[in-house]
Each structure stands twice: as C-alpha cells, then as structure tokens.
Symmetry: C2
Subunit: 226 residues, 2 copies
C-alpha cells in the first residue's frame, strides 16, 4: 500500500477510534475494530502507536481539544455583540442552552467522553492525560465566565476558579442527568436554575442596572420523557 507519513496515520486512527468509541464504547474499541474502521491493517496501528492504551490517550486528548474549541467558538458571538449589555443570567443561560443543544444533537459523543474519562480514572498510567483534560476544562470554564462578565458588564463576587468549578460541576451533572433520562424539557428547566445559581455569584459593574432573571414561581410541572 501507499507509504503514509506516521503523523497522518495517527490522525486517521484517532478519528476512526473516536467513531468506534462512540458506537461501541471503550470496551468495544479493540485494535481490530479500529483498523477496520480506518481501513488499514492491524500491524499499521502498532507501527503508529506502541499500544492500544497509547491510542486511547491520544483519543482523549483529541476529544478534549475539540470540546475546548467548541466552547471557545461559542463565546465569539458574545464579545462581538454591540447593543445594550444583557443580564449575566441570560448570558449564562444562553451558553448552557447551547451546551445542551450539542448534547442532544450528538449524545454518543458526550457518552464516549465520559466513558474515556472513567477508563482513564481506573487505568494506571493515564494520570497525565487525565490531568490535562481536567485543566483544559477548568481553563475553558474560566475564560467563558470572564467573557460572560465582560459581555454583561459584571464582576464576579467569588474567585473565578471557584465559579468555574461550579460551572464544570453543573455541566457534568446536566450531561449525566440527560443521558440517564433523555428528558430535554426537564433539562431546559434545570438550565434556568443553574444559570440563576451562577449569576448569583456575580454583580453588575453599574449599580443602576437591575439584573432580571426568570420568574421563580412559574407553575411548570415536570414534563414526561420526550
């Protein structure tokens, strides 16, 4: 077959492995399944990667980087907006709703990432890639919150890393809960309260601006599964 640079081989294999993990889970991501998806021989995988675990490390790093870019892209519309400053709670709610959109549109991807993280949590030798994943998320959450403060002309009343950890906690929890019950309407309601909880940790720079959230006393009953 054609002589392919090892860097390109790695890319092809990582992309194929991501599809296999999403479809069959980590346990189903055998070396044979990956090379079948990538359309190459088993030996080529072991030429590009020393072992299956090394391939999985590369997959985790790649998926994490993709998520980080998605978060970054989600912030661009905010910094470029003109008009009057929106309330912090609305900025956060819009961001969380966009996150939920991604989850609903591609649940296999998020489930795959959770599986990969749990796998790395249990397997010795994956500490480095796991720490990198966590640091990337924390940083993405921090810059999201800092951008949100700029857009809403607010300041954080708690250290940004503290608020960022709450944001990560909320997105992780939203993901787990939605994957478990697939109740998108209920998740939207949870997003509203999550946004209020985060926005309560910030205050407007200009005291005359009155921050307004949604009505707490809404009579929305728990909707059934979609």
């Amino acid at each position: 077959m054609a002589r392919i640079p090892v860097a390109e081989r790695r890319r092809t294999l990582v992309d194929a492995a991501i599809r296999v993990v999403a479809r069959d889970g980590v346990a189903g991501t055998t070396t044979r399944a990956v090379v079948a998806e990538a359309g190459m021989s088993l030996a080529s995988l072991h030429y590009a990667f020393a072992s299956r675990e090394e391939l999985l490390d590369a997959v985790i790093a790649d998926v994490t980087e993709q998520e980080r870019r998605a978060a970054e892209d989600g912030l661009l519309p905010l910094v470029n907006s003109t008009g009057p400053a929106p309330a912090m709670v609305d900025v956060i709610r819009a961001g969380l709703d966009r996150f939920l959109d991604l989850l609903v549109a591609d649940p296999l991807r998020e489930r795959a990432l959770l599986e990969l993280i749990l796998h790395a949590l249990r397997t010795p030798g994956h500490e480095a890639v796991l720490a990198a994943q966590h640091a990337t998320y924390q940083r993405a959450a921090q810059s999201s919150l800092e951008t949100a403060a700029l857009a809403s002309r607010s300041r954080w009343r708690v250290p940004v890393p503290t608020a960022a950890r709450l944001l990560v906690t909320l997105t992780d929890g939203l993901t787990m809960a939605w994957l478990a019950d697939r109740d998108t309407a209920a998740a939207r309601v949870t997003v509203v309260f999550a946004a209020q909880a985060l926005a309560a940790l910030a205050e407007p720079l200009d005291p005359t601006t009155t921050p307004s959230g949604d009505d707490l006393d809404q009579d929305s009953q728990e909707p059934g599964p979609c």
Copy 2:
C-alpha cells in the same frame, strides 16, 4: 460441595461482583474474577445466572437499592431533631456535605456506580434497570427535599420534582468533578454554592424567620489538590 439454595448463591455472587467492579471496573468483572472472589466454580455462576449480563443487571439493581437506603438513613437525623428550625440552606448544605463524606470515604463505590450506569446506557436490554435506577434516585431526591422543607419550616417555590432534578444534577456533577481532581477542599466550596442555589428555590413558612447563608464575598482562593 454443599448444596446451596439458588437465592443465596445469587446474593453471594452479587456481593462478590460489587467488590470486583469497585476494584477492577466493569471491564475487569469477568465471570472468572467474580467466582474467584466468591469462592465457587465457574459453572455455579452460570447455574445461578444465565449470563454475565444478567449478573450485571442484578448488581446495578442491588447497588441502586443500597444507595436509596443510604439516602433515607441520612434523612432520619433531620426529622428527629428538636430545637429551633435551622435555615434551609444549612439543612441542604449538611446533606450535601454528608454525601461528599461518603464519596471521599469510598470513592471506588461511586466510580463503580457511574461505570455501571454508563455500561447500562450502552447495552441494549438494560433499559428497564436503568429506568428503575433513575426513578429511585429521583424519588430519593424528592423525599430528601420534602424532609428538608419540614425540618426548616419552609415550602418549595417550584415543583418538588423540578428541585429534585437540580439536586440530582448537582450530586452527579459533584461526583464527577471530585473523582476527576480529588480536590476535597474545592468540592466543599462547591457544596456551599450548590446549597445556596437550591435554598433559593424555597422560602420560609414563617415570614419573620430570616434565612441566613454564608458570606458570598469570602476570599477563599482555589486550593491546590490534596
């Protein structure tokens, strides 16, 4: 060997399987590993359970029931307390702190439960046990919140199922975040804000009672990993 009732065999096998899942993960829970832990032969497992998957179903149901009982027991101290009614935020914070205590004391158990849920999410035919698990959690969260309202002489301003879903989201997120970074001090801070977020959805029955939370402007910096 001794002739053992099949019900007892099943109990022994499920208990052994729970230990193996906690130690080696779902992928490491092979039929051989379980029978070695239980001290019986491979054929005895297949006499009690038709397949490995059927055993895993029983494990998920058992662990879920144990968690439900733990949540129930955690509520008993609340309803029996005399003295003046504590503030809702303090009741919830105490409950979340107790949850965090359990997580820190036995992280392998929570990690195992997450792995089992993800496994059930991916494997066809496990929908029933997964739905049961989710319903159990939602019910436990609801009765926890109702008990908290009683103890703090408050009422919920939103439907209890809605608040319960936020509680489940927060505990799931707390678990994932702590498992990822093992930063107990940061998790305690997250608990404070999570409790405030939930307490904001309730109001005291007696208007003269002033609900008091913690100071939001505390200068706690993000602590390093433990």
